[in-house]
């Protein structure tokens, strides 16, 4: 089913970076306790999906990066794979003490902080 959803997405009309920036703005607006949103760029260049880890002071700590998938919508015509971790868990991810999902890499990420939500 996920594969079918990917095929349905119309990626040509919504450059992935602009979609990510809109999602970041929306999510910061919706969740006041989000400190940071990290976008993991798709390593194979196909831009078939958006991968986010959101760092929140008020989420359950599980010691893992638990990823959930949401299908494409008219607003977000990409498969959205998203995880939420605590700030302490994010530190562990950065120190490679908590594993990232397959094909996600710290070497190809873009972090958005709450203030200004500037990519860096």
């Amino acid at each position: 089913m996920l594969e079918r959803l990917q095929l349905q997405s119309d990626m040509s009309e919504a450059p992935i970076e602009s979609v990510v920036r809109r999602l970041v703005e929306e999510h910061f607006g919706l969740e006041p306790l989000l400190e940071r949103i990290v976008w993991f760029r798709d390593g194979n260049g196909a831009a078939a999906e958006i991968r986010l880890i959101e760092v929140s002071t008020q989420t359950l700590a599980t010691g893992r990066v638990d990823v959930f998938a949401f299908g494409p919508t008219p607003d977000t015509p990409y498969l959205l794979r998203i995880a939420e971790v605590t700030p302490a868990e994010w530190d562990q991810v950065r120190r490679r003490q908590i594993s990232l999902p397959d094909d996600w890499t710290l070497d190809n990420m873009c972090a958005f902080e709450r203030q200004g939500a500037d990519g860096r």
Binding site: E26, L30, T59, T62, R64, F68, A69, A83, P101
Partner: protein, 167 residues
């Protein structure tokens, strides 16, 4: 991993149907809650497997996935619209019932860490040995409140949506 995902969904449905049945016939809350906890655990794992972030061996050991999914689902405007809610309303709705969902997930013995659970005896802080069959489980009463009813409706909805999407 679609085979695993679908199998967890199938078992979640079976456990959910048993919960509904036991609500009518089971006298003890532990038996009803046991099936509710298992339905929620397996639905959460199915949703986690659909995210395909880790190996199946890791995912099978995961807990609290349903509550985690609920918290993340507040970012999804499509889900909010299924409830005829704005994103802000849906977030408030989910934030209101997430503690109860967490309470249901904590009924599992693996999450209870030797404390109250619906399956195995435990020792309470005073040293008393307790059996699930002798406990009232206050969460059983909370499930009858409007907040509890909202949680049960949401679980049923998520189960139906997942079956429609994946099966």
């Amino acid at each position: 991993m679609t085979g695993w995902r679908d199998a967890y969904l199938c078992q979640a449905r079976s456990d959910w149907d048993m919960w509904l049945h036991l609500c009518k016939v089971a006298r003890l809350p532990c038996h009803r809650l046991h099936y509710l906890q298992m339905a929620v655990e397996k639905l959460g794992k199915a949703l986690l497997i659909a995210g395909a972030g880790q190996s199946i061996e890791t995912l099978q050991k995961s807990h609290l996935a349903f509550t985690k999914f609920l918290l993340i689902s507040t970012r999804n405007k499509a889900l909010a619209s299924q409830y005829d809610m704005s994103a802000e309303q849906y977030r408030a709705h989910v934030r209101g019932i997430a503690p109860l969902a967490y309470g249901v997930e904590q009924l599992g013995p693996q999450v209870a860490h030797g404390g109250p659970n619906v399956e195995y005896p435990w020792r309470d802080p005073s040293g008393r040995i307790c059996a699930p069959a002798q406990e009232g489980f206050s969460i059983a009463e909370q499930l009858g409140t409007p907040r509890g009813v909202n949680l049960l409706k949401l679980i049923a909805h998520m189960l139906r949506e997942s079956e429609a999407r994946y099966c």
